[in-house]
């Protein structure tokens, strides 16, 4: 009997870029069509591999931003990093119709499996895996309780701005948009404590400093450290 056809998540496959969307001056989202697509858990990531003509290769991991209900495709949202050779390639070169090698989905800890109430806390592009959770909840089980606290620097740094709704609380750390009457400054106990106390699970994603602050606030509010899941991005690219 011939062996079963190998499937993701282990295998590299060639994805086709079907759409490129500019989210902010430094962030773009890419929709990829996958020949060996399989459903992911919101919060999982794919690895991306680029190959130069001389064989040089670079790999990076990117969180999936889309719901697993988008059959056959995934969305990756990529922050342009200084010195970043893969993120700069995506920002400067990749266009609709291009092909890139990917494999995934990977990792099964920073994932939402439908728990409620759940609190999501994102800083900057740390919102990306949280958006997969938010989008999936909206489409699969909108009755489940989920809140997002999302920290950005300025009005033009809001990723997925047109999709954020009542479940989302924004805070602007540098420059709020004109007329803003909501929260400003870094995440604080006013934003985190009450929401974290009522959550059975807290997901925090952002820079190391952001994650340290947000998790400390959640623990101080009485959250069991075991119910706080984190993902941090450091200098990478």
């Amino acid at each position: 009997m011939p062996p079963a056809a190998p499937r993701a998540p282990g295998r590299w496959q060639t994805a086709t870029v079907t759409q490129v969307k500019r989210e902010t001056p430094r962030v773009k989202s890419f929709r990829l069509e996958l020949p060996m697509w399989m459903p992911h858990l919101p919060g999982q990531h794919y690895d991306v591999r680029l190959t130069a003509p001389d064989g040089y290769r670079a790999q990076r991991s990117y969180s999936i931003a889309s719901s697993p209900l988008d059959e056959g495709e995934i969305e990756l949202t990529i922050d342009l990093l200084d010195e970043g050779e893969v993120s700069s390639y995506f920002h400067e070169v990749v266009a609709q119709g291009d092909q890139v090698e990917v494999r995934g989905p990977f990792a099964s800890y920073f994932v939402w499996r439908g728990e409620e109430p759940v609190l999501l806390v994102g800083g900057g592009s740390g919102v990306v895996p949280l958006m997969a959770m938010l989008r999936h909840r909206r489409r699969a089980c909108p009755e489940r309780q989920m809140q997002l606290v999302y920290s950005v620097r300025t009005g033009e740094d809001v990723i997925y701005a047109d999709e954020l709704a009542g479940e989302t609380t924004l805070t602007y750390t540098r420059e709020p948009p004109p007329g803003w009457t909501g929260h400003t400054g870094r995440v604080d106990s006013e934003l985190i404590a009450e929401r974290a106390r009522h959550a059975s699970l807290v997901f925090v994603c952002g820079s190391n400093g952001f994650v340290e602050t947000a998790t400390r606030l959640a623990v101080e509010a009485g959250c069991d450290p075991g119910s706080i899941r984190t993902e941090r991005f450091g200098p990478t690219g």
């Binding site: 680029l50 130069a52 670079a58 010195e83 390639y89 070169v93 190391n208 075991g226 899941r229």
Partner: protein, 204 residues
């Protein structure tokens, strides 16, 4: 070779003199990024909150207080480290006690170990990967006390495997007669994690 990425040149190529120190799929990172699955535990050795155990299938269970541990033989460990998230840090150094010293004191009866940490993290290692001068329990990084976010007061250091095996906030090694997956090993990552074989995920 497969797909060539249109217009990709590669901006972060490894210099030739370092090429044999960078495993496949990795890039060189001058910083020291922090990766953790949960909040950073606070353990204060001065308040007696820290001890290190070697237990499970051993002839004699051993436990060292911070003061007792400090009296063991420390050594400098110059090394390169490789994180499964693709960065490698070259030419760094730690200071600590060889795991050989700790195991000799306890006399293991099993061929596998589970490293376990304050905060609940675990990672599994074969004894072969912990012995022979290839693993340490370290308390200093580049001449300074190991920062809390990097696993201080003490972390495991197993530089020949991906860095998730080098458990932060190490509390002990539990010897076992069988292998079983630790935290990341149960959540999609490879059981052994040899960077030179690119053993990242379950299916690698």
């Amino acid at each position: 070779m497969g797909l060539i990425s249109r217009g990709f040149g590669g901006r972060r190529r490894v210099p030739d003199e370092l090429a044999d120190r960078v495993p496949p799929g990795q890039y060189v990172e001058p910083g020291f990024p922090v990766l953790t699955a949960g909040p950073t535990p606070r353990i204060d050795p001065a308040a007696g909150e820290w001890s290190l155990s070697v237990d499970g299938m051993v002839t004699e269970r051993r436990e060292w207080s911070w003061e007792e541990f400090g009296e063991l033989g420390f050594e400098e460990v110059p090394c390169d480290i490789h994180c499964v998230t693709k960065w490698s840090k070259l030419g760094t150094s730690f200071r600590g006690v060889s795991v050989d010293v700790l195991l000799q004191a306890a006399e293991p009866l099993g061929a596998y170990a589970m490293a376990y940490s304050f905060g609940g993290y675990t990672t599994n290692l074969a004894l072969d990967d912990l012995t022979g001068g290839r693993a340490w329990v370290v308390t200093e990084h580049e001449g300074e006390p190991l920062p809390r976010e990097h696993g201080g007061p003490a972390r495991l250091l197993v530089p020949h495997l991906y860095f998730w095996k080098s458990a932060k906030w190490l509390a002990g090694l539990r010897l076992m007669d069988h292998d079983e997956p630790g935290f990341w090993e149960a959540n999609g990552y490879h059981n052994r994690g040899d960077p030179w074989k690119e053993e990242r995920y379950w299916t690698d």
